[in-house]
């Protein structure tokens, strides 16, 4: 592997530096070109790398030593292999499209802020590339935290709004909770193996050196990290709030790339995870629970981006479900397809918001399909893809997951199926409420409705195409023998496994799923083709308020910590420890005031005290000592 790999992350870094340092000097056009151009460059190199990898040229590039002590050597090294190559393409490819999209979407910003935006975005791409390129867990962790930081910066991009800042903070803190798990896992590995380099960790003798407990704990800790980054129960609540950031950011970070880092982590570590059954079970259940929870919430959300956010959480849950089943390839596959269609959906929603002048409430939209044809059609494709309608990419990836679920655990499979139905329902609800029916916004908005500029629609179109064809890299064996290109490609990293069910069963499952989706679409159509004010029942309220999870966290975590902080500060610190310290001083002062009264000025009392002292000394010397 040549050192050219280093250029992949370095180009976005360069973009970040230029945009960041010269943000006052650069015009918007220049900033946009630099921002997008560097990512494009990275994409091109990634493409070359991908071709290399396809030709079997994988390997490690060691740049310079980073941390070393004792026998532990943690170099700053990059690893390019099949998994990385796929991720590289997704990140730079989707990233480039979103950069382009952003040049138009963010055009109303002032130049310095515009440049700042691209700087952040470039920094994000850099961090994300580090994450996937790192040849050991520490480098991955650098990227891992780096993307968290960029997410923080971009969510709080409009820093004047305190709520956005709170959302940013929440995202960062929740990510940090996960990061602690990551760190602990790394320490555990270091303590047991004295190495964190993938190749060495996954080698046969290393794996042998780890006990069952070790593996379980390490994998669990990694999973904790993944729940933070990939918004799983219990750390998922930051993601919906993260929608405070600009919509392209949501598309890039909070849908396509960063949030899938957790899946990357688990897939990367699949050798260990496969050996830890307990962890696998936990992952599967957490994944499916998250998927269900988020899907139910999404049903009742009215903010266009919130729906998509919960959908993302739900889809991520799906991916974890796959990971929990050991279907790593399926998960990665879904990551890819999800990146396409979810980015598409987000960008589409961005286009809508752009047209609506910032309005995000779907109850105040409707009938937009007439005004924004491209957006409408691409959004529709996105919906079809996410719903898993056959021939669209989502169908293949989702099917792979459902298949392995069916294979392993029927209950999980059942829930997953329910989630698929819910997903279809809320996506089409969103679609119909937004693009169908009559316009419900203000006259002013109606007047301004228009299709978005080319820079925005073009990425939409590209992504729409990808959302359709993206699935064909891994066509189930039942359709075409050897159709699972992806699985084969990833085989050096993730062992291939064959499904143990008959073709008939598989066809039946697909058919059933497709039927279900179709029914739900029809149901949604009947329900939302025209908008009606709806009143919520108890369940509706519960869902609209997201199961009150935020409030619950607030009550059991945030408030107690705040109370504890206040208590510690005022009671323990000021009236406790500090009071003791000051108390010593005061006691000395008080003692001084009292003791000097002994000095009464009276010779008689002085002599009396002296005699008392004498008697005491005599007693001490003669009677006490022996």
């Amino acid at each position: 592997m040549s050192k050219i790999v280093a250029l992949v992350p370095l180009l976005p870094l360069l973009g970040f530096l230029i945009n960041g340092l010269l943000r006052k000097q650069l015009s918007k056009t220049a900033a946009g070109i630099i921002g997008s151009g560097t990512v494009l460059g990275a994409f091109i190199i990634s493409l070359l790398l991908f071709i290399d990898v396809r030709n079997g040229k994988t390997g490690v590039v060691e740049l310079f030593p980073f941390i070393s002590f004792d026998t532990v050597k943690i170099p700053f090294a990059f690893l390019v292999d099949q998994l990385t190559a796929i991720y590289l393409l997704i990140i730079t490819g989707v990233g480039f499209l979103i950069h382009v999209y952003s040049t138009a979407y963010m055009h109303d910003e002032e130049a310095p802020h515009f440049a700042r935006y691209f700087a952040y975005l470039n920094l994000f791409v850099f961090s994300m590339l580090l994450l996937v390129l790192g040849a050991n867990y520490v480098i991955m962790f650098i990227g891992w935290e780096g993307v968290g930081l960029c997410s923080y910066l971009l969510i709080g991009y409009w820093f004047k709004n305190p709520q956005y800042n709170n959302a940013a903070k929440k995202a960062f803190v929740m990510n940090r909770i996960g990061d602690l798990g990551f760190l602990l896992a790394v320490f555990w590995l270091l303590a047991k193996l004295s190495t964190v380099t993938y190749g060495e960790v996954f080698s046969a003798e290393s794996v042998k050196a780890l006990s069952k407990t070790d593996i379980t704990i390490i994998t669990l800790l990694f999973f904790v990290a993944a729940t933070g980054k990939s918004a799983q129960i219990p750390l998922y609540t930051w993601l919906p709030d993260a929608m405070a950031g600009p919509t392209p950011v949501s598309a890039l970070i909070h849908a396509a790339t960063m949030v899938t880092a957790g899946i990357y982590l688990v897939a990367r570590t699949n050798i260990l995870f496969s050996m830890a059954e307990t962890t696998q079970h936990i992952i599967a259940w957490v994944g499916v629970a998250t998927a269900l929870l988020a899907a139910t919430i999404a049903v009742k959300q009215n903010d266009i981006k919130k729906v998509l956010a919960y959908s993302t959480v739900s889809q991520l849950g799906y991916m974890f479900l796959a990971l929990g089943m050991g279907a790593y390839t399926a998960a990665v596959f879904h990551v890819m397809t999800h990146a396409f269609f979810k980015a598409l959906l987000f960008l589409g929603s961005g286009s809508v918001i752009h047209a609506m002048g910032g309005e995000q409430d779907i109850r105040k939209m409707g009938g937009l399909g007439k005004h924004m044809k491209i957006t409408y059609f691409t959004f529709l494709i996105g919906c079809l893809a996410i719903a898993g309608v056959p021939l669209f990419s989502g169908f293949f990836s989702k099917d792979a997951i459902l298949l392995s679920a069916y294979e392993h655990n029927k209950i999980i499979w059942g829930i997953a199926l329910l989630v698929a139905a819910l997903t279809t329902f809320y996506m089409f609800r969103l679609l119909f409420l937004t693009f169908k029916g009559s316009f419900r916004g203000t006259e002013e908005q109606h007047h301004h409705l228009h299709e978005s500029p080319r820079a925005m629609t073009l990425p939409l179109i590209v992504l729409a195409i990808l959302s359709i064809i993206g699935g064909y890299i891994s066509v189930p064996e039942v359709f075409i023998a050897g159709g699972d290109q992806l699985g084969e490609f990833l085989a050096p990293i993730i062992p291939l496994h064959t499904h143990a069910i008959t073709h008939a069963e598989e066809y039946a499952l697909m058919g059933g799923t497709t039927l279900l989706v179709a029914i739900v679409i029809v149901f949604a159509w009947s329900k939302y083709k025209t908008y009606k004010e709806e009143t919520n029942g108890a369940l509706g309220n519960l869902l609209e308020n997201k199961w009150y999870v935020d409030e619950l966290y607030n009550t059991i975590i945030v408030k107690p910590i705040n109370w504890l902080a206040g208590f510690t500060d005022t009671v323990l610190e000021r009236s406790g420890i500090d009071a003791i310290v000051n108390g010593v001083g005061k006691a000395v002062q008080y003692g001084s005031r009292q003791l000097r009264l002994l000095q009464s000025g009276q010779v008689g009392s002085y002599v009396l005290l002296m005699i008392a002292g004498m008697v005491l000394l005599f007693v001490l010397q003669f009677f006490l000592k022996k």
């Binding site: 820093f159 803190v173 940090r176 320490f187 303590a191 500060d569 310290v581």
Partner: protein, 485 residues
């Protein structure tokens, strides 16, 4: 040669400064002297890195067998470098501040540098104690003379508190003196085998002194007040370098000298450190004063260093040594920003500030970078140190609670994010609350911050040279600890 110069340059220039006439002269001379010291320190790391230059040994108190013995080992090199780098930065950052009697101010500042250098250089225990106290005196006068409203009482508390600690250490020093055939020489002391029971006593006598200095919970209460009330350059000296005296002394005079006691009391000390870290982090959440917030954050960081030292392994100790340097640089950066904010907006109250990102974007960026370094984000300098410290703690062989320790200490990573981001949010984001009353964010200050940021990033990406400096010295300390075991 280098060893003496490191101590003499600030000493002599400090004394000379008292004779200067006007503020400009005083400032300039102080800056030049500080830079000269830095040059000496850098020479010691590069061109003149030979044992002959790094050691100085002269007769002193022949009667009681104490020598004027200075020696630079790797750890000393690094902290001396920190001291040498810090002072130019501190002087630069204070370039705009007008102090009454500037010649006294800068003179005392350099004298404190001389004292600090002495602490880091001396390998004779009595000499060490000498400098330990000497470093404190100028700081006392600086704080009391140029500090905030409650400066006199607060400084006094700080002074007496630390003085109590030093005196208790003095008792320990005397006990050690008799335990080790009446010698103060570190090399000779290290060859002695000290009786375990006596070791326990002496360990605590020493540790209390260092714990107060660092400070380790529950000996910390002098610190927030002192930081709050001191003039900012002095706060920088205090927090950037002075508290490192405690950490440094722990590595030089406790770990290798009383290894048995370190093994025995490691858990107790770790418990104190962990309580302290959590405590300080939690308290920091509620602070409304920028300086106090930074002070509590510093307590948490120092607790981590102490914890890592008591892990008694390479990773932990190497990390702690590195972190001494890193924390010194970073916290000085934080103070510079805090000081600039106070000067520009007339308040340090977090609740009264807001929206600075709009008014002062450059300052904001710089603060964000430094603050992120403070919470040990990867690719900043603190990450390397913290990573190694946590790893050291985790793989510590001397305690059964290593996992628990690491996990509890790890909570501070999260809490650190909470209070740091809170602060950034309140001060820099949101609506603008008040207009600037002055502009003190001038070139010298910017220059200081740029240097700090460059250090943060360079060390964060390529820490190897810094780790190499201390590598052998840390090994020496650990070897001694292992042989004792």
């Amino acid at each position: 040669m280098i060893a003496v110069l490191l101590f003499l340059v600030p000493l002599i220039s400090g004394v000379l400064l008292f004779a200067t006439k006007n503020a400009q002269q005083a400032k300039t001379l102080a800056l030049l002297a500080a830079i000269a010291t830095l040059v000496v320190s850098l020479l010691g790391l590069t061109a003149l890195k030979q044992p002959a230059y790094l050691e100085f040994d002269a007769a002193w108190l022949t009667g009681i067998n104490s020598r004027f013995h200075l020696k630079l080992d790797g750890i000393g090199q690094l902290v001396c470098l920190l001291t040498a780098i810090s002072f130019p930065l501190i002087i630069l950052s204070a370039w705009n501040n007008e102090y009454s009697k500037p010649h006294n101010f800068y003179g005392l500042l350099l004298l404190s540098q001389a004292g600090l250098m002495g602490v880091f250089l001396s390998v004779d225990l009595l000499l060490f104690y000498f400098f330990w106290e000497l470093a404190l005196i100028p700081v006392y006068f600086l704080c009391s003379g140029w500090g905030g409203e409650r400066r006199i009482a607060v400084t006094f508390k700080f002074f007496i508190y630390t003085f109590v600690g030093s005196l208790i250490m003095l008792v320990g020093i005397i006990m050690l003196y008799f335990q080790c055939n009446q010698t103060f020489d570190l090399a000779v002391i290290l060859m002695q085998k000290v009786d375990p029971i006596v070791q326990n006593w002496m360990f605590w006598l020493f540790f209390v002194a260092f714990a107060i200095k660092m400070p380790v919970w529950p000996f910390h209460t002098w610190q927030p007040d002192a930081y709050e009330q001191s003039p900012t350059p002095v706060t920088m000296v205090l927090s950037g370098i002075m508290v490192k005296m405690g950490v440094f002394a722990l590595i030089r005079w406790v770990a290798p000298v009383f290894p048995g006691a370190v093994y025995q009391w490691g858990d107790t000390v770790s418990l104190l450190c962990i309580i302290g870290m959590l405590y300080a982090s939690v308290v920091a959440i509620k602070q409304d004063d920028l300086k106090r917030l930074i002070a509590y954050s510093s307590i948490a960081h120092i607790g981590l260093m102490c914890l890592a030292i008591f892990a008694s392994n390479k990773s932990g100790m190497q990390g702690a040594v590195l972190q001494m340097f890193v924390h010194g640089i970073n916290i000085i950066g934080l103070w510079i920003v805090a000081n600039t904010i106070e000067n520009n907006y007339g308040t340090r109250k977090i609740s009264e500030l807001g929206g600075l990102a709009h008014q002062a974007p450059v300052l904001t960026i710089m603060l964000v970078i430094i603050a992120l370094a403070n919470i040990a984000l990867p690719l900043t300098n603190a990450f390397v140190g913290e990573f190694m410290m946590f790893n050291g703690m985790f793989s510590s062989k001397i305690t059964r609670y290593n996992v628990l320790d690491t996990a509890m200490a790890g909570l501070c990573i999260i809490l650190a994010a909470v209070y740091t981001l809170n602060m950034i949010k309140q001060v820099f984001y949101g609506a603008e609350k008040r207009a600037a009353v002055a502009n003190t964010f001038t070139t010298p200050v910017k220059l200081a911050l740029v240097v700090i940021i460059v250090l943060i990033l360079v060390m964060g990406v390529y820490p190897k040279p810094f780790l190499d400096i201390t590598n052998e010295a840390v090994d020496a300390v650990l070897n001694r600890m292992i042989t004792e075991k």
